[in-house]
């Protein structure tokens, strides 16, 4: 998929809500230091929301970077390595207790596993299987509607 700004944001929201939401539901109880309780889910879903909101802002920056590329493309590799900057920022905010609704940062590995799994699944899905249900998606810059 070769993203337009609109397509980037739409794909980001769709992926984090659908895959992020589902994976968070399944993974939360098995993360270190978390369980099946409502408190645990509150923490993980707030983390997911933070990733989503910040992600939209990150997309603006990525779109700007893309303008320096003659092909106006976004290599597959970039889609994976941007996990580093995005993950680091979210963890920093958690650690500094700046995420509204989360008073104490969860265990680092809980965050790392959750973030890593969601990111990897979304990255794989956007680089292939997503083209199966939505045939127009790849020709329209990643737009879903």
């Amino acid at each position: 998929m070769l993203p337009t700004l609109n397509g980037r944001i739409q794909t980001r929201l769709f992926m984090l809500i659908v895959f992020g939401g589902l994976i968070t539901l399944l993974i939360t109880p098995v993360l270190p230091g978390l369980d099946l309780s409502g408190d645990s889910y509150q923490v993980t879903y707030l983390i997911l929301a933070t990733v989503t909101v910040l992600g939209v802002l990150w997309e603006l920056l990525y779109h700007l970077i893309q303008q320096f590329r003659w092909e106006k493309d976004w290599p597959t590799l970039f889609g994976l390595i941007t996990a580093i900057n995005e993950g680091a920022l979210v963890w920093l905010l958690l650690d500094l207790e700046l995420v509204p609704g989360i008073d104490a940062a969860p265990d680092f590995w809980a965050f790392f596993i959750m973030f890593g799994v969601i990111w990897f699944v979304i990255w794989v899905w956007t680089n292939g299987p997503m083209r199966v249900p939505l045939i127009r998606w790849r020709f329209f810059g990643g737009r879903i509607v």
């Binding site: 070769l2 320096f68 003659w70 083209r131 249900p133 790849r138 810059g141």
Partner: protein, 538 residues
């Protein structure tokens, strides 16, 4: 070897094999030829049998194939479509062109991993499928790191053709194929079109057969590939078809001679075909002991980053330092680009941008993106560097004023910025890929003269965003066109695998609005994908 006087180097069907010696009934009349819109009675009066079919696609190449593939997946049965053309298999012309221009089945094309004409989803991509079949992670690593750390992954030509064959069988392509020449499509009173097919000799009791359809799709490919005028003149005047060749005609004899005898070759052109021909020349030096001296003539020489027009040392308008957001790699003469257009024309920013441009503005962006270019490949760079160092590969910038025979060789008078210099060569290989005007194709000329079709800002067939051929409406009938003949429209990159699929998607969707075929929503799409995977009929 190509017929010397032919305007096109691409082999075309010999019309004499279609029109037999014995006069047959059911031919076109002067009255029909003069009339833009035909009635059923006129066609019947001429004795031409009429076959009713809702949809015909003319061309029988990859453009026709990709379009019927989409429609089969959208639920259209084979009995509702006919593919009209002279090719036995959709990839016939394509395979010919790639083979002679030095991409035999084992070599890699210049095409993206997800551009699969046999799979509308582009998933699994060629890289994934190659990794699976060869049990190697190399192709996956390649697509993961491209184009930052590695060259773009591109599929092997043979891999593409084998998969096309599989898909052709799956969708019942050969049930839909009707062989014959098509030179006329005319609108019909009361809506729809008549497509006149000339079947091969002996295949029909009449000379022509008319297909009466509501929808027509035209995908006839390149109108023709021409020789540069000075090369054509030299060939005709000196009756020399051995030493001056076009990269798109069979010219294996040149390479054979070069291996036997040290010679000088003048290569003209700065695109992918020039790269391929150079690779062959340099491979033969490395592997078969050829001692070929290569002189490479560029018309436009890129010194470094460029914006599609020129570069820092280019005095022409558009030259000068390229803008920060419009810099293409370049150097040693070449403009460097992964594929024949910047990648995002097939689905990203540039696709969206051009979709909203009209007239001059559109023609302008085409010039920037569409100029001659070639991909960066490590092996080619290494070979050319060696050639420069050892002195057997030299470059010149300019145009050829005159060509004269001198003993067994040809003297090319090359006009450069420093004056005219004579270049003596044993062979000249034309890799410029000069394309013929669309009016040189009989069907396209007829559509321009009698069918209501017009030209776009680049001079090719004017199609709308849905690939409807503007001006050709006929009642409830709609005519579409895709492929190279529509270059210059709202969507660039039409003459590529993915471009044909982008067009086919628009066409299928428009046809679905007219009640022909179903919409491919997420459920149908997913079900159909599984059918594709298991090779079952759509």
């Amino acid at each position: 070897m190509t017929e010397p006087s032919a305007s096109s180097v691409v082999p075309t069907t010999d019309p004499s094999s279609y029109v037999g010696a014995a006069p047959l009934p059911g031919d076109l009349t002067d009255d029909l030829l003069r009339t833009d819109i035909w009635s059923d009675e006129m066609v019947a009066a001429a004795g031409i049998p009429i076959i009713d079919i809702p949809f015909v696609t003319i061309g029988s190449g990859i453009g026709s194939f990709v379009t019927v593939d989409y429609l089969r997946i959208a639920g259209v049965p084979t009995s509702h479509m006919r593919v009209l053309g002279t090719l036995d298999v959709p990839w016939q012309t394509y395979e010919y062109l790639t083979r002679v221009s030095q991409i035999p089945r084992g070599e890699r094309l210049r095409s993206d991993s997800a551009s699969r004409p046999d799979n509308i989803w582009g998933f699994p991509s060629y890289a994934v499928s190659e990794a699976f079949h060869t049990k190697s992670v190399k192709p996956l690593w390649n697509v993961f790191t491209e184009p930052i750390f590695t060259d773009y992954y591109t599929p092997r030509a043979g891999h593409v053709f084998e998969n096309l064959e599989r898909e052709a069988k799956r969708i019942g392509y050969h049930e839909m194929l009707v062989k014959g020449l098509v030179r006329i499509v005319r609108r019909r009173y009361g809506g729809g079109y008549f497509t006149i097919l000339t079947p091969p000799e002996g295949a029909s009791a009449t000379k022509r057969v008319a297909f009466r359809s509501q929808f027509v799709h035209v995908a006839v490919g390149y109108p023709g590939l021409k020789f540069l005028p000075e090369l054509q003149r030299y060939r005709t005047e000196h009756n020399d078809y051995r030493h001056i060749v076009n990269a798109y005609e069979a010219h294996e004899h040149v390479y054979e001679r070069l291996v036997q005898q040290p010679s000088t070759v003048l290569v003209r052109g700065g695109g992918i075909v020039a790269s391929r021909v150079l690779q062959r020349l340099m491979d033969d030096r490395e592997q078969h002991g050829a001692r070929t001296n290569i002189v490479h003539l560029f018309r436009t020489y890129y010194h470094g980053p460029n914006d599609g027009y020129g570069n820092e040392e280019d005095p022409r308008p558009g030259g000068g330092k390229p803008r920060l957001f419009m810099r293409r790699r370049g150097g040693n003469g070449w403009a460097i680009q992964g594929f024949n257009y910047p990648k995002s024309v097939w689905g990203g920013q540039l696709k969206r941008q051009v979709r909203n441009l009209e007239g001059e503005e559109r023609a302008e962006i085409y010039k920037r993106m569409g100029g001659t270019n070639t991909p960066w490949r490590k092996s080619w760079q290494r070979q050319m560097d060696a050639g420069r160092k050892e002195g057997w590969y030299t470059c010149l910038v300019g145009t050829v004023d005159a060509m004269k025979p001198h003993r067994d060789r040809i003297v090319n008078h090359v006009r450069t910025a420093q004056g005219t210099v004579p270049v003596e060569a044993d062979f000249v290989i034309d890799c410029t890929g000069l394309e013929a005007d669309i009016a040189e194709h009989r069907l396209l000329k007829d559509l321009l003269d009698h069918g209501g079709a017009s030209r776009n800002p680049v001079g090719r067939l004017n199609v709308d965003r849905n690939f409807e051929l503007i001006g050709t409406r006929s009642g409830s009938g709609v005519m579409y066109a895709s492929g190279a003949t529509t270059l210059g429209g709202y969507f660039p990159g039409v003459d590529t695998f993915l471009g044909l699929q982008v067009a086919a998607q628009e066409i299928y969707q428009d046809l679905a609005k007219h009640g022909f075929g179903k919409r491919i929503g997420p459920v149908r799409s997913t079900v159909q994908w599984w059918k594709w995977l298991f090779g079952s009929t759509p």
